[in-house]
C-alpha cells in the first residue's frame, strides 16, 4: 500500500511568486495514495528537511514527492533526508516546479496548474518506485597495462610511483615499442633512445612493476575492480633466471636468415637474438621458425656456448592467471601495409622505403650505423623525395580515412636532418597539407623549409618508376605551380599511414571495450572522459585511442594512470542502483540488448525457468550491475519488455505520461 507525502517548496519567492503553492499542495493532497501534503518556505533547509522527516515518521510514508527546484540541484539532498527518515532513498521523486515552471511561465494560473500536473506526474511515478540498494564490490589493488611502449611504460611508472602494483604485458621480447626504433624526436630533435631507455630501466627496476615480455593477454573476465586475466607467456627457450645477458649465444648462432624486426627488416639477425642493445629484459629469445635446432634437430651451438646453461629447447608456453582492478590498453600503432599502393613501387624498388625504415637508416645504432646509404647499392643518395599522406586521408578503401597526425612533423624532421648532415643533397617533400598544430611545430616545419632549404611541393606523387638506369623517377603534380614534374631521385621515403596495432581488435573484444571502424579504442566521452573506455575499469593510453605524437602520448599515459590510481585507491566501489534488469521469465535471449549496450554490461547465461508451461533451459540476458551505467538503450531495444531500467521503469514512465496527459 502506497502512502505518499507531498512537499511543496516556496523557494522563497522563486516558486511562490509565480505558482500558488497552497493551491498546489491542496490539489496534490487530493491525489490517490497521497496521505500528507504540505508547503514550506525552503524545503532544502534544515527545518524543511525536519518537516519531511517528521511527516515520514508520523504518517508512515512509503514515498516522497518534493515539488521544488531541479532534481539536478537537490535530488541527492532529499534522498539523504529520506534515508535519515528511515525509508529507501530511491523512494523520492522531485517535481521540478522552479526551473521548468515558475521561472519560465509568467501567468500564475497557467504556472499553478502546470505545477499541479508536474506534481501528479511525480506522484504517479513514485507509486511504482521500488526500494533500490547501492551495490558494492571490492577492488583488486593491482593494475594491468597492455603494451610496453612509451605509453604503457609511462602509465605503469605513474601507477607504480603512487604505490600500486602494476604489470606490463608486452608481446615483443623487449619493452620500448616504436619509440625505441626512432632516431630523433620532433620538434626538439633530442635522441629518442636517450630519453626512453632510462624509463625502460626504471620500469624494469621498479619494485611495484612486473614485466611480462614476449607475452600476450589471452582471456579477460570480470568487471571493474575485479578482472581476472590469463596471460600467455610465450616460450623464449631461454631461462630468464639463469641468463646473464652476455650475448654469446647470439654471436655464435649460425642462422642468419631472419629479417631483423628492430631494423625493420633492413638487415639480418640470428635465430637467437636480443632485439637491440638496450633491450629490457636483456635476455635473448629463440625464433623457433628459423632456428636450425628446431628445424633439423641438429645444431645447439648456442646451448654449448652458454656458460649460464640458460638455453632450454624444451621450454613451453606458460599460462599465468592474475587478478586486476583496472586494465590499461596501450597497444600502440603500426604502419599500414603498402602492397595496395603499387604506384609508389615500394615492393618493386628497394630504394623506396617507409619513414620507419628511414628512421633506422638515420639511426646511429641502425643497419648503416647512421650513414645515409640507400638499400639497393649502399650509395649515398643525392636527391631524396618524401611523399606524405601515403594511405592517410584515403577513403578509396586502400588506406585509412583519418589523418595519421605524426607524418607531417616526422617528415619535416627527416628532411631537416638529411639536409643538416648532408648539405649536398636535394630534398623534396610532396604534401597535401602541412599540419603542424602543436607547440613549436609550425616553427619547426618552417625551419625545414626556410633554413634547411627543403623543397616543399604542394601536390601528390602519381607514379614512381625506374628509368632503366637505376634512377627512380618520381612523377607528381605541383598544383601551386600548376605543373606536372618528374624528379630523378635516388631514394624515396613514404610517410605510410599509421594504424592501430593489429592486436588491438582482439583485445577490444576481450575487454568488451568498444572500438571505432578504424580499430581505435573509443573513449567514454570524446571531450570529458578521453582516457577512459566506456567499459568501466578499462583505460586508454597512447596511439590505440587515436593518432598521437610522443608528448601527447605521455600526457595521456599520465592521465590514464591518474584514473587508475583513483580507482585503485577505493576499497569498495559503489554502483549506481539505477541499472538495467532483465526478467528471465520473459527474456527470449535474442541479443538485441547486447548489441546496443555501449558498456558490454550484458552477457547471456542459460537459466532454468518455469513460466507456467514447464521447466526449461533458456538463454537469457544477465546485466552486470557493476558495469551498467543505466542509459536504458537496452530497455528500449527489447521487444518483449523483459529488459527494464530501475528508477526509470516503463511502468514509471507510462504513469508519468498518463499523469501529464490526463
Amino acid at each position: 500500500m502506497n502512502r505518499i507525502g507531498v512537499f511543496v517548496c516556496h523557494c522563497g519567492s522563486n516558486i511562490a511568486a509565480a505558482v500558488d503553492v497552497k493551491q498546489v499542495a491542496e490539489a496534490l493532497g487530493r491525489e490517490q495514495n497521497v496521505v500528507f501534503s504540505a508547503e514550506y518556505q525552503y524545503m532544502c533547509s534544515e527545518n524543511g528537511q525536519k518537516l519531511i522527516k517528521n511527516a515520514v515518521k508520523e504518517n508512515a510514508l512509503t514515498g516522497i514527492v518534493v515539488c521544488s527546484c531541479s532534481p539536478r540541484m537537490h535530488e541527492a539532498t532529499f534522498r539523504k533526508t529520506a534515508s535519515e527518515a528511515g525509508i529507501n532513498p530511491y523512494m523520492v521523486e522531485i517535481a521540478n516546479i522552479r526551473e521548468q515552471c515558475s521561472w519560465v511561465h509568467k501567468d500564475i494560473t497557467a504556472a499553478t496548474s502546470k505545477a499541479i500536473i508536474l506534481g501528479r506526474a511525480a506522484i504517479a511515478k513514485v507509486r511504482f518506485n521500488e526500494p533500490l540498494t547501492v551495490g558494492e564490490s571490492g577492488v583488486t589493488k593491482r593494475a594491468l597495462v597492455i603494451g610496453g611502449g612509451i605509453a604503457g611504460i609511462q602509465t605503469a611508472l605513474d601507477i607504480a610511483d603512487a604505490g600500486y602494483k602494476v604489470d606490463i604485458v608486452e608481446k615483443k621480447p623487449t619493452i620500448g615499442g616504436k619509440m625505441a626504433q626512432l632516431d630523433k624526436t620532433f620538434p626538439t630533435l633530442d635522441c629518442a633512445a636517450c630519453i626512453l631507455t632510462p624509463k625502460m630501466v626504471e620500469a624494469a627496476r621498479h619494485e611495484n612493476i612486473k614485466l611480462y615480455t614476449y607475452s600476450e593477454v589471452e582471456e579477460v573476465k570480470g568487471y571493474v575492480g575485479n578482472f581476472s586475466v590469463k596471460i600467455r607467456k610465450k616460450a623464449r627457450y631461454v631461462r630468464e633466471n639463469l641468463c646473464s645477458g652476455c650475448g654469446a649465444c647470439a654471436l655464435k648462432c649460425p642462422s642468419r636468415n631472419s629479417g631483423n624486426e628492430f631494423n625493420t627488416g633492413l638487415d639480418k639477425r640470428g635465430a637467437i637474438y636480443i632485439p637491440f642493445a638496450q633491450a629490457i629484459p636483456n635476455i635473448p629469445v629463440i625464433d623457433a621458425e628459423h632456428c636450425i635446432k628446431f628445424r633439423t634437430g641438429k645444431c645447439g651451438l648456442c646451448q654449448m656456448n652458454c656458460a649460464a646453461q640458460a638455453i632450454d629447447f624444451s621450454q613451453k608456453d606458460e599460462i599465468i592467471e592474475e587478478k586486476y582492478g583496472a586494465i590499461v590498453a596501450a597497444t600502440g600503432f603500426d604502419i599500414i601495409n603498402l602492397d595496395k599502393f603499387g604506384e609508389y613501387g615500394y615492393k618493386t624498388y628497394p630504394d623506396v622505403v617507409t619513414s620507419l625504415e628511414f628512421e633506422r637508416i638515420m639511426n646511429a645504432a641502425g643497419p648503416t650505423k647512421g650513414h645515409l646509404e640507400r638499400p639497393s647499392d649502399g650509395r649515398q643518395p643525392k636527391t631524396l623525395v618524401f611523399v606524405q599522406c601515403v594511405g592517410s586521408r584515403d577513403t578509396s578503401g586502400r588506406g585509412k580515412e583519418y589523418c595519421s597526425k605524426i607524418c607531417c612533423m616526422y617528415t619535416a624532421k627527416h628532411a631537416m636532418l638529411t639536409r643538416e648532415k648532408y648539405p649536398d643533397t636535394d630534398v623534396y617533400v610532396f604534401y597535401i597539407d602541412v599540419r603542424a598544430p602543436g607547440k613549436n611545430f609550425d616553427e619547426f616545419y618552417r625551419r625545414a623549409a626556410e633554413q634547411y632549404g627543403v623543397h616543399y611541393i604542394k601536390g601528390m606523387v602519381g607514379k614512381i618508376y625506374d628509368d632503366g638506369n637505376g634512377n627512380l623517377m618520381v612523377r607528381g603534380s605541383d598544383i601551386i605551380a600548376n605543373e606536372q614534374l618528374t624528379i630523378k631521385a635516388d631514394m624515396v621515403i613514404l610517410a605510410a599511414a599509421a594504424k592501430p596495432d593489429d592486436s588491438a581488435r582482439s583485445l577490444g573484444t576481450m575487454l568488451t571495450a568498444s572500438m571505432d571502424t578504424n580499430d581505435f579504442f573509443t573513449e567514454a566521452h570524446p571531450k570529458l572522459r578521453p582516457v577512459e573506455s566506456p567499459t568501466a575499469g578499462v583505460f586508454l593510453s597512447g596511439f590505440c585511442q587515436g593518432p598521437k605524437d610522443i608528448p601527447e602520448t605521455v600526457a595521456q599515459a599520465g592521465a590514464a594512470a591518474v584514473k587508475v590510481i583513483g580507482l585503485l585507491s577505493k576499497d569498495r566501489l559503489k554502483s549506481n542502483p539505477c541499472v538495467a534488469r532483465s526478467d528471465s521469465l520473459i527474456c527470449s535471449g535474442c541479443s538485441n540488448c547486447e548489441k546496443v549496450c555501449p558498456f558490454g554490461a550484458i552477457t547471456y547465461a542459460d537459466a532454468r525457468v518455469n513460466d507456467g508451461t514447464g521447466m526449461e533451459t533458456r538463454r537469457v540476458a544477465v546485466v552486470n550491475e557493476a558495469v551498467c551505467h543505466g542509459c536504458g538503450a537496452c530497455a528500449a531495444a527489447c521487444p518483449s519488455g523483459a529488459m527494464d531500467l530501475m528508477g526509470f521503469t516503463s511502468k514509471q514512465i507510462f504513469a508519468e505520461v498518463d499523469a501529464v496527459c490526463r
Binding site: R393, G462, N482, Q484
Partner: protein, 128 residues
Amino acid sequence: MTEYDLSLEAIRMSGVYPERCMKCGKCSGACPSYGEMEYHPHQFVDMISKGRIKELMESDSIYKCLSCFVCVERCPRNVFPANIVEAVRTLSERRQGADRISPDTLTEFIDGDTPQQLLMAVMRKYSK
C-alpha cells in the same frame, strides 16, 4: 541553362561527388595527358564544384583526356576525375554543331591499319 545549372548537370551526369576532393593533386600527378591539357584533372574537379564549367567546355582539354582511368584508380578520395571530364565533354558535344570530329572528317586520319574500335571510340568520344 545558367552556367551553375550546367555544372550541376555535369555533376549529376558524372555520378561523382566533387566535394569529396581534398585537393591533393594526385590525379594530375598521374595524368599521362597533363602536358597537353590547359586545365588539368584536379582543376576539372575544383572548377566544376565552383560552377565554372564554361571555361572547361570551351577548352581543348576535354579532348585530351585519354580515358585511361589512372586518375580514378589512384584517387585517394573516390572522386572520379575522368568521369567529370567526360561529363563536361559530353555536355559540350550535345550542343548544336559542337562535334569535334564528324563522319566527314573521319577519313582524315584513317589509314589501312585503323582498327574499327578506334572509329567507334572516336564517334562516341568526339561527337554527339
